[in-house]
Symmetry: C2
Subunit: 186 residues, 2 copies
């Protein structure tokens, strides 16, 4: 095994990242024409608009609710399965600006609630039960919440770059984002 | 060949995207602890700090200067080679906040200059000569400028996710960004 060079999970680092994502997506997406934000990568893929809807849905039904299940039930209650298409109905009829506002609000509320839990070191080792991944610690769940933001920022940059795949001509060789296959994500 | 489903290059769409990137990086990175922004993906790779330095260097020495070379010399003057490590010395001793300010300023100046060129449809078909990629149109160069922003946003999200590669435990399977190999980019 190589020496550990990556970061151990740290609650303050996780909260710092989770705090920045809504403003970053807002700055990136709010003023863009829809030609950037409503296009996807092909059938059964998501647009940037869809991704923001998904982040809201995960905020409401997945990350913080699962933190609370771990704290209350440990491994005795399996997390509810997450609906990867659950955002579709909720986003219907809304503008991207509305979704960005909603994401900022629900994230801010969730982080307030997370801080109020006053998690201690011993809590981080508590285990919960994921319906597909098996048992995992609270620390891993919190780190995954932050990693999930980064996965979707990564995805949004790839979705948008895809729109210029042909337009960039010979530069496509040099633009790493155009080589990204999506990795079975979201 | 499949029907074209991606966007044709459009100057306003390109400028919209180029306008948003500095604010998006600012919102994402400025308030993060250095543990997120100064770590890289291993030897000879870049941190988020390095990437912002690179974007400034490209702004000064590559994209707009090449636009002007195409307009003035067409294919008769090959673009100057770009120094992929040219940002290192320029970034030394600066804080990430200073780099983010500098990127916002130089990008804003360059977009003012780009707008003032009053490019017309016929200009977009003009060809320039890239030292490695051969000839390319002005339209392709402008689209690549936007695609380059997205490549580096994609890279920054991957660099940061890498720091939590172990911390996320079993979720690493679900986080697409952790499967991304970097694609020989930047």
């Amino acid at each position: 095994m190589p020496a550990r060079s990556t970061m151990e999970h740290n609650l303050q680092d996780t909260i710092s990242l989770l705090s920045c994502t809504p403003a970053a997506l807002n700055a990136l997406l709010r003023d863009l024409p829809e030609t950037w934000t409503l296009r996807n990568e092909g059938e059964n893929t998501w647009s940037a608009f869809d991704v923001v809807g998904h982040l809201i849905h995960a905020e409401r039904t997945s990350w913080l609710p699962r933190v609370k299940i771990v704290l209350q039930f440990h491994q005795t209650r399996t997390f509810d399965a997450f609906d990867r298409w659950g955002h579709v109905r909720e986003s219907q009829g809304k503008s991207l600006g509305q979704l960005l506002d909603e994401f900022a609000r629900v994230r801010s509320e969730n982080l307030s609630e997370l801080r109020a839990l006053n998690l201690r070191q011993k809590d981080f080792e508590l285990r919960g039960r994921h319906p597909a991944l098996g048992t995992a610690t609270l620390s891993e769940l919190l780190a995954a919440w932050a990693g999930h933001d980064l996965t979707h920022l990564h995805q949004i940059s790839r979705i948008m770059a895809h729109q210029y795949r042909e337009a960039v001509g010979p530069w496509s060789r040099y633009l790493g984002v155009l080589q990204c296959a999506g990795h079975g994500s979201p």
